[in-house]
Every structure is written in structure tokens, then in C-alpha cells.
Amino acid sequence: MGSVGAKEVPVLLTPDGRRIDGRRLDELRPIKIQAGPLRQADGSAFVEWGANKVMAAVYGPREVHPRHLQQNDRAVIQCRYNMAAFSVDERKRPGLDRRSQEISKVIGEAFQSVVFTEEFPRTSIDVYIEVLQANAGTRCAGLVAASVALADAGIPMVDLLPSVAVGKISGAIALDLKKEEDNFGEADLPMALVPQSGRLVLLQMEGHMTEEELGTALDLGVAGCRDIYEKMKAALRARYTVTPMEEGGA
């Protein structure tokens, strides 16, 4: 949609390889992760990623509502991704739309493949992701927040799930697009990685890339995910760091 209304396409990439905010092609935006900000939830996390601000809360495993979704051999993961009305410049109509339903689905399925759901039959693990401020890459920020929140909630899983998007701007493959790059760029490729096995459990693409570019993009994204993985672990460590303790056993 960028070409029609956009009279001025911003310079996304300078000749010396700098992006609109001064980053290089393989640089992430600054990321800040806080584990456990919400008291009521079983687990929670707040992520600031560039200008994105995303809160995630996890409840469960708990009784399934509505009942008919219950599975006798495993827990179901119910994920709800939502953007606040004030999260974008133009007021977003509140509530579920096609986009947020899709994102809820793909994020839920990504977690379904890493959580040991069979340990909690007939229960539900409810994951809520609220985007408070959006600036491209919110599904990745939401996934990162939700993953930290799941760990904070003591949910057993194979691994944490770092996630990042790679895109194409001015013909070059770039890591972690921000809003202008997403709007005026040529492609966007969000992904989520299981660091332990190297498996991707979420991969979507919008726009066009050559096969060769796709390969470059995947490599760049996986490397980005590994950076984010370390930040996720640091956030959880910060919350649960244990000074040598005298266990007060009963």
C-alpha cells in the first residue's frame, strides 16, 4: 500500500548502510524485558522493544472455558492477542478483528509445540497479549512477552521462544523492521525459534523475496532470535536470582 498514497517515500537505507534510525542492517532495536510485573496473573511479562510496548499475562493451567474446548489428553492453549485502541496513531477500533484473530492463532500454535501440554489434561493455559503501543513487529514482541510470562508462570516447556521479524528495505535484507520500514519496505518475515533444536515454530511472510534473499533473511532472523533469547533469560534470572539460601523446610 506504500506506493499509492505515499508521495514521499523516506530514505530507508543510506549509501553507507545506515537505516532510518541509524541502525545497521543486522541490528536490533533496543529491547527491555521485565518478568512478573503483574501480581494477579500466574505469570506475566512486559516488553519494550523499540517503540513497542507489550504486556503479557498467563493464567493456568486452569479449568477450561468454554467447556467444549477441553481435551482429555492435554491442556489447550488459548491465546488472545489484542491491540489497545490507543496503541496506534489513528484510533484502532477495539476488539477482535481478522488480523488479531490470525495472530492469536499462530502464536497459540507456536506455544502448543513447545509446552508440555500433556502434563495437564483437561485444563487450559490462557495467554493474554495486550499491545499498548505499536511500532511494527508487535506479534514478535507479543510472543517474546508471552514466552517469558509462561516461564514465570511455571509452565513446563521445551524452551523459551524468542521471535523477531526480518524484512526487505530498499532491496536489502534487514533485521527487525520499525514502522516506516515495514510500511515502505518490500517484505516482512516474522519468525519464532526454538533455540535448543533450531526449529522454527512460527514463520509468516508478506511481500516478495527471492529464494536467495529468503535464505539470508532466515539466517539473520535466527541470529537475532538468539540475541533476544539471551535477553529473555536475563530478565527471568533478574526476577528469580537466588542468594544462597537456607531453605526454611517445615
Partner: protein, 289 residues
């Protein structure tokens, strides 16, 4: 496919076995490799390609022949014998469903109560929102949690308030040999019933309830520090309320008689139930792990 071998254990071991003195325990996160040193993967772990990984956020604990991860967070995972504080969420003709903070609601059958409940009259004894102290009796493979109200210190809770903390912190609230909880009740005069599920019933003067709540929050926030009992004691001494405010506590667990006091009263919730007013505080000594 990457799940690898899972041990037969269903639940996750809570707080380990305190009789096993804690070595230097390592904090691990889901997906991190554990130096298993040839030990088998126990609760909170899994094995892929000969390596053992943590599936939970928690502390590594070696209990030969297993290595396990003791969770530091998360919901209450029930264990047979645990005394827990629950709240009624549903009333059926022959049983109640209790929210005990576990993954599933726990059914309390009328035969598991000290009362002689006629079929269809369960709601005369416990209604939605009432709180009880019950004991986990059996855990079925389906995930069903059987609880009973028959036993010393079990029963319906009247009055008071319920404070929720992380189940992982309960051993600290109890303290070694009950030292922590004894300090708290002695210093505040409050009545306290501790559920292993992280729900703690507190009753007494408003002042006492407030102080106990403060202390519980303090324990939850500092659960990994040592010397908590003396810190709590000095905190309580420093905040001793005005003289004479010490109360013997207004209520306690009541064990209602075997039937409704008045057959015409739909809700047997009147004072006649309380006639045997024994002022003993509810039990705060959970079963030895």
C-alpha cells in the same frame, strides 16, 4: 519429537525434601541444559539426545537416581496429604467443587464431610463463595483431585480473610518446625490456617489481620533470603500496636454439628452453630513432607 523421554512422574515435585539439605542450588530456565552427571531425568526435566534439560524455571536438585527441577513459581500442584484452603465454586446435589488454586477444581463429596447431608441439600451446608480447609486425599490419573473434610483441623472457615501467596513460599511461612508461624501468631494474636496451596486464612482484629498480611507479603518477597524468622520477629516487635490491642481472635474453624440446627432454616448459618465456641486456633502445622 523433541520431547524425548519423559519420566513417569505426573506432577512436579514441590519444594523438594527439606530433610535433604540444600546444596548450592542452581537456577535454571526452561530449555537450559542440566549437568545430570548420569542421573535420570526427574520431575521438571526432560532428555533429548542424551542430554538433560530443564522444562521449568526452578532450582536444580539431585535426588539420586534422579535430577529434578524444583519450581519457584506457578500454580499449586496437589500432593496427597496436603492440607489446603479452598473456596466453593459450584454446588451439585452430592458434592461441591472447590477452587484450591490447582489446575483443576477439586470435588468434595458429601461423604467426605463431618455432616450428614441429605441428597440435594448440599447447599445448606456450603454455598458458592464459602471457604473451607480440606485435605487432599487422592490424585487420579485423570487429573481429578479428591479432597476430604474429615480430619482434625478441617472444616468450614467463618469470618477472617484469605491471603494468597506463591505455594513455593509456604515452607518459609511455616518455618523450621513451625517457628515462623508460631512467631507470627504469638506476636499478633491472630488465628492463621495455612494451606499448602498458598492460601492462608487469617482472622483476628483488623490490626492483627493487617500485620499478618504485611508479614506474609514480606516473606513472599524475601523468600530466598536467610534469617527471615528473626527479621519477621523484629519487624513485628517494631510495629507492636498500642497496648491492649492484642486479641484472642474472634473466630476459628467451626466444626458444625451433624445436621442443620434448624430444619426450617434453609441456610444453617446462625449463631447456634457456634455454641461450642472453643477458641483453639486452627492448625498451622502442615503434615511433614
Amino acid at each position: 519429537m523433541s520431547r524425548g523421554h519423559r519420566p513417569g512422574h505426573r506432577g512436579r515435585g514441590r519444594e523438594g525434601n527439606p530433610s535433604h539439605p540444600s546444596e548450592d542450588r542452581v537456577l535454571v530456565l526452561p530449555g537450559e541444559e542440566i549437568q545430570g552427571r548420569g542421573l535420570k531425568p526427574g520431575p521438571g526435566t526432560f532428555r533429548v539426545g542424551g542430554k538433560v534439560y530443564a522444562s521449568l524455571l526452578g532450582l536444580v536438585s539431585e535426588r539420586p537416581p534422579f535430577v529434578q527441577v524444583i519450581p519457584l513459581s506457578g500454580r499449586y500442584i496437589p500432593k496427597a496429604g496436603d492440607v489446603v484452603v479452598g473456596t466453593v465454586t459450584d454446588v451439585q446435589t452430592t458434592f461441591w467443587l472447590l477452587d484450591i488454586g490447582a489446575p483443576r477444581w477439586a470435588p468434595l463429596h458429601v461423604t467426605g464431610t463431618p455432616w450428614k447431608v441429605e441428597i440435594g441439600e448440599a447447599d445448606r451446608y456450603l454455598g458458592v463463595g464459602d471457604s473451607v480447609v480440606v485435605q487432599v486425599e487422592n490424585l487420579e490419573a485423570t487429573g481429578r483431585i479428591g479432597v476430604t473434610m474429615q480430619g482434625e483441623g478441617l472444616g468450614k472457615l467463618e469470618g477472617g480473610t484469605i491471603v494468597r501467596i506463591s505455594p513455593a513460599r509456604i515452607p518459609r511461612v511455616v518455618g523450621r518446625g513451625g517457628s515462623m508461624i508460631q512467631t507470627i501468631t504469638r506476636q499478633t494474636g491472630a488465628h492463621v490456617a495455612i494451606g499448602q496451596n498458598g492460601r492462608i486464612w487469617v482472622d483476628g482484629t483488623p490490626e492483627a489481620i493487617r500485620r499478618v498480611t504485611d508479614v506474609l507479603r514480606m516473606i513472599e518477597a524475601n523468600g530466598q533470603r536467610s534469617g527471615l524468622t528473626s527479621r519477621v520477629e523484629s519487624y513485628l516487635l517494631a510495629t507492636t500496636p498500642t497496648a491492649g490491642a492484642d486479641s484472642s481472635g474472634a473466630s476459628k474453624i467451626r466444626t458444625p454439628p451433624s445436621g442443620p440446627a434448624d430444619e426450617r432454616t434453609a441456610v444453617p448459618d446462625d449463631a447456634s452453630w457456634d455454641s461450642d465456641g472453643q477458641g483453639d486456633p486452627p492448625p498451622f502445622d502442615p503434615p511433614e513432607p
